[in-house]
């Protein structure tokens, strides 16, 4: 397994690298570097999260003929920083009859599981913390435990709305996880590998997978988008915190930082889903038609981020357009439509590959 220490072709990185190795014994140095990476990623995480929140608010405003935050700093770019500061300095409340341990645990659970998820993405060829050989499956595995945080948090709050919200959340996440997994599997058939960097390499020669895979790839993408939106508990699948039904849903009792964790995790989850989509369907950091392949200095990260933002805006578009589903409709959608279609699509794809119909 490769462990790339962010080989950004900058001297400063290697200088730091050398310097750390020079002043410490090897083990300590490697630990330090890992911690450094972790810290950098966490900072990245926070920034991505905060700016996604801002993006969401801006995009929502544009859908709704408004301007959105624009007073705190130029174009409102410090708006979410202010929110973060506020949330940090906000009191943490709880009620008397909760299960203290679980109540406090839940937000960490949610946020740490998303944090781990973000660490495996290849933002560019060099910019990847871990290139784990089961990349996709790892993401799938990690995202499947995030829901436990919601379930536990909702239960431990000793609040009826929170419990109903948690129940719904559990039901919804586990249902749609299958579709996420199966639609990704459909694409894995094409690549023959789970490693994210290799998945991208495959697309360098053969074109983006969504084109390589004909109709089944498009179906898989659609299913993935639907299921991914549901996985992140966003509208039209936001039954977990359906405001008009459950008030604030599972995080009714949380305030301040703990609430912020849930809030951030939702956005990071969205980022993760969008990133998966980009890697698996749209060629990751590869430029479209290789237009910037010749330019060595061009930051490939940019392509990755542009594509991710496009997908995220698509998800926001869903959110600001559609009404919310009802619980039983949600389940019908998954178990009656998505899952069978997905299984059929998987076999369809298998047949296509077997017959060598791919481009």
């Amino acid at each position: 397994m490769n462990f790339l220490i962010m080989n950004i072709p900058l001297n400063i990185t290697s200088t730091i690298h050398d310097w750390i190795y020079s002043i410490m014994p090897e083990t300590a140095a490697s630990i330090t570097i890992m911690v450094l990476i972790a810290v950098i990623y966490l900072a990245l995480f926070a920034i991505i999260g905060l700016y996604l929140v801002l993006l969401e608010r801006k995009v929502a405003a544009w859908f709704q003929l408004r301007l959105g935050p624009n007073r705190v700093g130029p174009w409102g770019i410090f708006q979410t920083i202010a929110d973060a500061l506020k949330l940090v300095s906000k009191e943490l409340t709880s009620n008397d009859r909760i299960d203290k341990f679980l109540y406090n645990l839940a937000p960490y659970f949610v946020i740490v599981s998303t944090l781990i998820g973000i660490s495996v993405f290849p933002f560019s060829k060099q910019f990847q913390a871990f290139d784990i050989n089961i990349g996709l499956f790892f993401l799938f595995a990690v995202s499947s435990i995030g829901v436990i945080g919601i379930l536990v948090g909702g239960w431990a709050s000793n609040n009826k709305f929170a419990l109903i919200g948690a129940m719904r959340s559990g039901l919804q996440t586990i249902s749609y996880e299958l579709s996420v997994g199966l639609s990704l599997l459909t694409m894995v058939l094409l690549t023959g590998t789970l490693q994210l960097s290799e998945i991208i390499e495959v697309q360098r020669t053969g074109g983006w997978l969504i084109l390589q895979g004909h109709i089944p790839a498009i179906i898989a993408f659609m299913i993935f988008m639907i299921a991914g939106t549901a996985e992140t508990n966003r509208a039209p699948f936001d039954l977990v915190e359906a405001e008009s039904e459950l008030g604030a849903g599972f995080h009714t009792e949380y305030s301040g930082m703990k609430f912020a964790y849930f809030f951030l995790a939702e956005f990071i989850n969205m980022f993760i889903i969008a990133s998966i989509a980009v890697v698996v369907f749209f060629g990751g950091w590869l430029s479209p038609f290789g237009i910037t392949d010749g330019i060595t200095w061009f930051p490939e990260v940019l392509w990755f981020l542009i594509k991710v933002v496009m997908i995220i805006i698509l998800m926001m578009w869903f959110r600001w357009t559609f009404p919310r589903l009802r619980v039983d409709q949600l389940l019908t959608l998954e178990w009656k439509y998505l899952l069978p279609i997905n299984l059929a699509n998987l076999m369809f794809m298998a047949v296509i590959i077997w017959m060598n119909w791919t481009i």
Binding site: M1, F3, M34, I37, A38, V39, L42, V88, S89, K90, E91, L92, T93, S94, N95, R97, I111, V112, L115, S119, A129, F130, I132, S144, S157, N159, K160, F161, L163, M167, G170, L171, I174, S175, E177, L178, L182, L185, V188, L189, G192, L194, T252, E253, M257, K258, Y261, L331, T332, W335, K336, L339, P340, L343, L346, M347, A350, V351, I353, W354
Partner: protein
């Protein structure tokens, strides 16, 4: 060289997240009163037992999910080697999914996938 980087990353994440929360606890302004310590429910006290028993629908879905989850876990190695193995894999998976599909059909017929 193992994947310990992930574990270290995990530990670092936990420490940082908990640390941030601790910091927040430190600088936040606090107040206390008896009402604050009660569950929030639209501004009125909760009525009746907070015991909630849900109907069977919920966990049946969890069971079905578990089963399909195992299936996905088995499909992953299959998917990875599908191109190499070819025909055997195709036949194999058709049988596999067919059998599971029967199960799904059964569940559908028995209205286990209908939530009432």
């Amino acid at each position: 060289m193992g994947s310990e980087a992930i574990i270290v990353f995990f530990l670092a994440a936990v420490v940082l997240v908990v640390g941030a929360n601790f910091l927040s606890n430190l600088i936040s302004h606090k107040s206390d009163n008896p009402q604050k310590r009660e569950p929030y429910e639209c501004g009125v006290p909760t009525i009746g037992p907070t015991w909630i028993q849900f109907n069977v629908g919920y966990y049946l879905f969890a069971i079905l999910f578990l089963i399909f989850d195992v299936e996905v876990a088995f499909l992953i190695p299959w998917a990875v080697v599908f191109k190499e193995v070819g025909t055997v894999a195709l036949v194999e998976i058709i049988v596999f999914i067919f059998i599971l599909g029967l199960g799904l059909l059964y569940a559908y017929k028995k209205r286990a996938l209908r939530w009432e």
